[in-house]
Amino acid sequence: MIEQIFTASVLASTIRLATPYIFASIGEAFGQRSGVLNLGVDGIMLMGAFASFYAVYTTDSLVLGLLAAILVGGLMGLAMAFISVTLKARQGISGIGLYLFGLGMSELLYQELIGTPKSVAGFPRIYIPGLSDIEFLGIGEIFFRHNLLVYVAFALVPVAAFVFNRTPFGLMIRAVGQNPEAADAMGVNVAKVRYITVIVGGVLAGIAGASLSTALLKVFQQNLTAGLGFIAVALVYFGGWRPYGVLAGALLFSFVNALQLQINAIGIDIPSEFAVMAPYVITIIALIFAAKRTEKPTALTRPFERGG
């Protein structure tokens, strides 16, 4: 029974489910650490998902697919930066506006350019030589038989942690997110830093979308993300703005999800509403008991304006 539930395939599924969350949440963490809350992640993901899907569908080139996602994500990030940093608009609404735009636009383009659901070959699974054959605890299946973007997502976490904690730029990001006035007084270009982080966030959200449409699901459909981007934002808070915390959140959430799917798959009969509820409930409960080590950017959502 138990060994029927906790199978290697469940953990492999966890890894797959977590991938888009990791991309999107890490990206969002960049923006938020510098003080910009972007609620438009879901919209950017949708645009990225469509862009890369369309590129792959028409050219069969995965490289172009990825580039398309990066470009579109970056552009939407730029838009968000312009609205929230230069025009100092309320970040919350700007994000929601961006979301609506992405939601509608991606579907519209899909209807006009593709029409009915199609599927693409997309990113193939890459079996890491040697590692992927490890039978022990199913390690091979769990970790080493995924597509490229899955590996990239997990590699992204230590990189982000390094940038935040070990580089001068990371220092600027933290300072700008904590006390923009002080950063400004020390000659840091607050606006520039925020532009960069928000654009990075957009690019990663775009890739998150691509990981869905061209790597994991290999189809596109209206509202493909089904609100995934909002969960991604929530996970940033779960992770206390720390890359490894975000990773933990994404894995926990995805694991419980994979678990409830498995429980259904092996025909255990519980009301599916409660099964579907589980990841959300567990995530909250986990945070209640989790040790709160956060790097909360105190200037989050606060536009920076010099006194005079």
Partner: protein, 397 residues
């Protein structure tokens, strides 16, 4: 002071020019899309306008759409002023609707007219408790409210599906497994429709006899409740000690603690009230409009995203309950008009969504110019320098 504040605030809220310009720009940009789809922007926008305010019924529908948005927005004002970001309107609406419809169904006609206040009370309480939960987790367990409210939205939706498929399922539907819905509430529990008889002197102006506005429309008295509560909430926030404490906690919790304010309790209270208003939005949708609770299985199926639009409306309204009123009506019109536009020119729903996004972005971006104007105006009027400073809260969003 409250007076001058009032003057300035309203001054800001109704500072329509930049908003108008932004709106025009947004429509210009959007017309690019329309043209690309071989649709005449003129026809499209005419339809949009007609659909929003073109006819008596259209305007009624705009108001109908605005009602739940208004309730949520009022609550959002309280939460944000208290330094709590409430993204949980959707879930709280559902909680309120579930409690309200259950009350109405259980009571039936047993208590006569009492059913309406009781159901509404139940709706408020349920929403308040659901929102208060997030506030409690924030205050005493340091669980970020943005996370918890987003999660609680999903949980509420599943709860709704579970109950609608189960004990709340309309008995007449048992075994038919149609899209789940509750039984219809008794007529006695329906909020009365709202119609306005023009006072004679007005009627005479247009030389018409005793016309009754909104007579054959779906406009219901929920609108009056919302407007009334908006005013009361303004009083609560800026004229009472409770509001003072909520705002103090929202602005500077350390000073609030020094002032002897129970920081945690007021954090919870802010979320409690905020959730309560969202709950009202839910129950009023049921009692005033749908007369039963039903959905397509998605939360939005019932809420129509009022839980989110309420946030946008509140922020457009300058986090001021009075500002929330016009802002909500604006959004109601936008959404209803867009539907009309979709029907008239046969564009797909997705285009409408995209255009709404563009409009939201442009209008919110225009706020900076509103602020600049207010600043200029105020530099002249010295005794109200205060409003010149951009609002700075612990956590505006």
């Amino acid at each position: 002071m409250a007076l001058s504040q009032f003057r300035v605030r309203t001054g800001r809220i109704f500072d329509a020019l930049p908003v108008g310009v932004a709106l025009l720009l947004a429509l210009v940009v959007a017309s690019g899309l329309l043209i690309a789809l071989q649709v005449s922007p003129v026809t499209a926008y005419t339809a949009l306008l007609e659909g929003a305010v073109g006819t008596e019924n259209a305007f009624a529908e705009t108001l109908v759409k605005a009602i739940p948005i208004m309730f949520v927005a009022i609550g959002i004002c309280i939460a944000f002023r208290g330094g709590v970001v409430n993204i949980g309107g959707e879930g709280q609406m559902i909680a309120g609707a579930l409690a309200g419809v259950t009350t109405a169904l259980v009571l039936g006609e047993s208590l006569g007219g009492l059913v309406i206040p009781l159901a509404i009370g139940a709706g408020f309480l349920a929403g308040a408790l659901y929102g208060g939960l997030a506030g409690f987790l924030k205050a005493y367990f340091d669980v970020n409210e943005i996370l918890s409210t987003i999660m609680l939205n999903q949980i509420a939706a599943q709860m709704m599906n579970f109950l609608l498929n189960g004990i709340l399922l309309d008995p007449a539907e048992a075994g038919l497994n149609n899209v789940p819905k509750t039984a219809r509430i008794v007529r006695m529990a329906e909020l009365p429709r709202l119609s306005i008889t023009l006072p004679d002197f007005v009627a005479d102006l247009f030389n018409v006899q005793n016309v009754e506005l909104f007579a054959r429309t779906r406009l219901h008295t929920g609108l009056l409740v919302a407007v009334l509560l908006a005013v009361l909430t303004y009083v609560l926030l800026w004229r009472t000690s409770i509001g003072y404490r909520i705002r103090a906690v929202g602005q500077n919790d350390r000073a609030a603690r020094y002032a002897g304010i129970h920081v945690r309790r007021y954090t919870v209270l802010a979320m409690f009230l905020s959730g309560g208003f969202a709950g009202l939005a839910g129950v009023v949708q049921v009692l005033g409009l749908q007369y039963r609770l039903q959905t397509d299985g998605s939360p939005t199926g019932f809420t129509g995203s009022a839980g989110f639009n309420g946030i946008v409306a509140a922020l457009f309204g300058g986090l001021n309950p009075l500002g929330a009123i016009p802002a909500s009506v604006f959004f109601g019109g936008l959404l209803v008009g867009a539907q009309k536009m979709q029907r008239e020119v046969g564009v797909s729903a997705s285009l409408i969504t995209a255009i709404n996004g563009i409009i939201v972005i442009f209008v919110v971006s225009s706020q900076i110019f509103v602020r600049r104007r207010t600043q200029r105006r105020l530099s002249e009027a010295e005794q109200v320098v205060n409003e010149a400073q951009p609002e700075e809260m612990r956590q505006p969003i």
